[in-house]
């Protein structure tokens, strides 16, 4: 019977792990109590699941034309109406939402990865690496985001849809990089980093294992908010005719084509617009809830 010895070890272990997790648990609890954020998360999840699953059962895919009802207003057969070619509004909005969410996901991933990586390196190593990276950040900041993406998009007209989020991601990381750098600058002087170095941890380990977890809050918040930012930028691009290209659709594309026939077919403008506003609103509220959850003071300046 070795149980007593074992159990003490387990108890010790559990005690330690509970203490370590409790911080996360309070954060999660605080987030779960944030009512707007929870409602938004629920709506967002529902919309996402709906637009990815429901098209399988829906009889009107986004390219199929119903030649018996051209330009019809919302009805039972076509809840979101049809356009002048008889394409179903609901099918197109679902497809457009899919695309917009995919674009947002790719761009947000890139923004977060690049921003965190460059910010961490600049803030941790300082010196000439920091100077070079920050001058590079300044350089990217001088060029308007929309303009860069628009110019690249015109230069390569045949490019597939995912080039847009990739370019967006390659340009829009500057804000996050600056936040991460500033935090790294102060955290690298803390005792726990010195302790880690004293026990022989290498730079990579210190950066990713010791310092980065402290920044989970601001990074998660920035990543969330960049989703909404990307969706809105994509709308602007599509409005200029530089977003995804027909026959493919995104929400921005649908809004743009809806605007051209606002007078005769307002529903083609309303439904994609509503979709974008609801999605961005939910994302922003979730971001707000996360910010409150991670921030014990709850009144910190917007990151």
């Amino acid at each position: 019977m070795t149980e007593p010895a074992d159990s003490t070890v387990i108890v010790d272990d559990r005690e330690f792990s509970v203490a370590a997790r409790s911080q996360w648990r309070t954060i999660i609890r605080r987030f779960l109590r944030h009512r707007p954020a929870m409602i938004s998360l629920f709506v967002l999840t529902t919309i996402t699941l709906f637009v990815f699953i429901f098209p399988i059962f829906w009889e009107w895919p986004f390219t199929k034309r119903d030649k018996t009802s051209l330009s019809s207003s919302p009805s039972w057969d076509h809840p979101f109406g049809t356009d002048e070619l008889g394409k179903d509004g609901l099918g197109r909005v679902m497809r457009g939402t899919q695309r917009s969410l995919e674009i947002a996901a790719i761009a947000a991933f890139l923004i977060t990865t690049i921003g965190v990586f460059l910010g961490a390196i600049a803030g941790y190593f300082r010196g000439w690496i920091d100077s070079i990276l920050m001058r590079f950040t300044d350089l990217v900041l001088t060029l308007p985001l929309l303009v860069i993406v628009a110019v690249v998009s015109v230069g390569y007209p045949g490019a597939p849809w995912y080039t847009i989020p990739i370019i967006l991601g390659l340009v829009a990381w500057t804000g996050l990089a600056r936040i991460v750098r500033a935090e790294f600058m102060s955290l690298r002087e803390k005792e726990f980093v010195e302790a880690a170095r004293a026990v022989g941890a290498r730079d990579r380990r210190i950066i990713f294992r010791h310092i980065l977890p402290n920044l989970a809050g601001p990074i998660i918040v920035a990543a969330t908010l960049s989703i909404a930012g990307t969706i809105i930028t994509e709308t602007a691009l599509s409005f200029l005719g530089l977003g995804v290209r027909a026959p493919d659709v995104s929400l921005g594309f649908l809004i743009q084509s809806g605007l051209t026939a606002f007078k005769t077919r307002p529903w083609l403008f309303w439904f994609p617009s509503a979709a974008i506003v609801i999605i961005c609103l939910c994302v922003n509220f979730v971001g707000d809830g996360l910010r409150d959850a991670f921030d014990p003071k709850q009144n910190r300046i917007k990151a």
């Binding site: 001058r135 350089l139 308007p144 860069i148 110019v151 709308t235 809004i255 506003v277 922003n284 917007k302």
Partner: protein, 398 residues
């Protein structure tokens, strides 16, 4: 201060130089200008014509030579001609003025609105006003400019203009306004006595009556001002224009010109104000909350200074510091800031300049556009730093 500016110039000038190289690389990859594409597509196009067009666009040489050629001329102020043969510099100057007229007015309004709402939201935290403005701010954060501007154009002008010509209020509108008045009076009176132990029993009745009275008064004023306005009824011109920044060929005295400007600016600036307001009010609220919970505000209160003085002199003044730098940075981005809104409302400002240059794939126009925006971003970055150091004595530039 002077040393700081000189030192920054040593950073800024190479930065702008690098920016020009990056821009040039971007723009050279944009493809053949549309005019040349069209010329090539023509069946009887001679090589000579195409060559002369290439010379006209300045793309007949290898890239490096083109860059040095363009850059040396650009710095001297010779920006070349655009796709239609017009000089770029005077054209751009004209467009910048149009854009600035719209954007400076809109920015000032949105800053003022944002600051006021932010302050009230912070000192009345977690009240109905705070929740309502927070929701509005989130709402306008989440609306793409194209949606907001398109919506305003349709419902703020195209649908509204016929109504403005013969304004009348149906039963539905009257009921809605009356209900609004009732609700407002009710809420105000409820909040007024929220924290008092003795509450007048008839406060709801008084509030509702006052609200109704206000609504009725508003409707009466409306009837008197708008209802009897036969000038508008006989005037064929729509009151709220949707296209352009002025009435083409408009001649009038000073007051009429200002009126013309005003009505043309109304909708596009509303769109920009609402979007700008969202950011500024959130920022101001956060900054104000931060300041009001700081030690020096507590000290000021402890000294017995009145709450109004504490809020305005200790609170607002300090809370404005970070906001002002944000505003300065935003001003740097103004020139390229309203491409969508300008396009929807048909303004010929910088937005149109860019959209046209992009459609024509005109390298020189695009280069000029991006360089001007880059310079303005850099300059206002510098200004933001200087302002920040001037306002906050804890920060030293040198």
């Amino acid at each position: 201060m002077f040393r700081f500016i000189v030192r920054r110039l040593f950073v800024v000038i190479p930065l702008l130089f690098a920016s020009s190289i990056l821009t040039f690389l971007l723009v050279t990859n944009i493809g053949t200008p549309k005019k040349i594409e069209d010329a090539i597509a023509r069946p009887n196009a001679s090589q000579q014509q195409i060559d002369s067009l290439r010379r006209q666009f300045g793309i007949d040489k290898p890239p490096l030579e083109r860059y040095t050629d363009w850059f040396s001329k650009f710095v001297k102020g010779d920006w070349g001609t655009n796709y239609s043969g017009a000089e770029i510099r005077p054209l751009m100057w004209q467009r910048i003025q149009v854009t600035l007229r719209l954007l400076i007015a809109a920015s000032i309004m949105s800053v003022v609105l944002g600051v006021l709402v932010g302050i009230i939201g912070a000192i009345r935290q977690y009240t109905a006003f705070d929740y309502f403005t927070t929701f509005l701010a989130f709402m306008f954060f989440s609306i793409p400019a194209a949606v907001l501007a398109g919506f305003l154009k349709e419902y703020g002008a195209i649908k509204l203009n016929p109504w403005l010509r013969e304004p009348s209020m149906g039963t539905g509108v009257t009921i809605v306004i009356a209900a609004f008045g009732l609700l407002a009076g009710f809420l105000i009176m409820r909040n007024r006595y929220k924290y008092e132990r003795v509450r007048p029993r008839n406060r709801y009745v008084v509030g509702a009556a006052a609200g109704l009275g206000l609504a009725a008064g508003a409707m009466l004023v409306f009837e008197m001002v708008w209802g009897g306005n036969t000038y508008r009824a006989g005037n064929p011109k729509p009151l709220i224009p949707t296209v352009g920044q002025t009435t083409p060929g408009f001649e009038g005295n000073f007051v009429e010109t200002v009126q013309d400007y005003f009505w043309h600016m109304l909708l596009p600036s509303t769109a920009l104000i609402l979007i700008g307001f969202a950011g500024y009010s959130r920022y101001m609220r956060a900054s104000m909350l931060d300041v009001m919970s700081s030690d020096y505000v507590r000290t000021a209160r402890a000294k017995g200074i009145s709450e109004a003085r504490v809020t305005l002199l200790h609170g607002v003044r300090n809370a404005l510091i970070p906001l002002i730098t944000i505003v300065a940075l935003d001003f740097g981005a103004l020139l390229s800031g309203a491409i969508i809104t300008e396009t929807i409302f048909g303004w010929s400002g910088m937005g149109r300049f860019f959209v046209e240059a992009l459609a024509e794939k005109d390298p020189r126009s695009l280069l000029a556009f991006v360089m001007i925006t880059a310079v303005s971003v850099v300059v206002f970055n510098l200004i933001a730093d200087i302002i920040y150091a001037q306002l906050d004595p804890r920060i030293r530039l040198d």
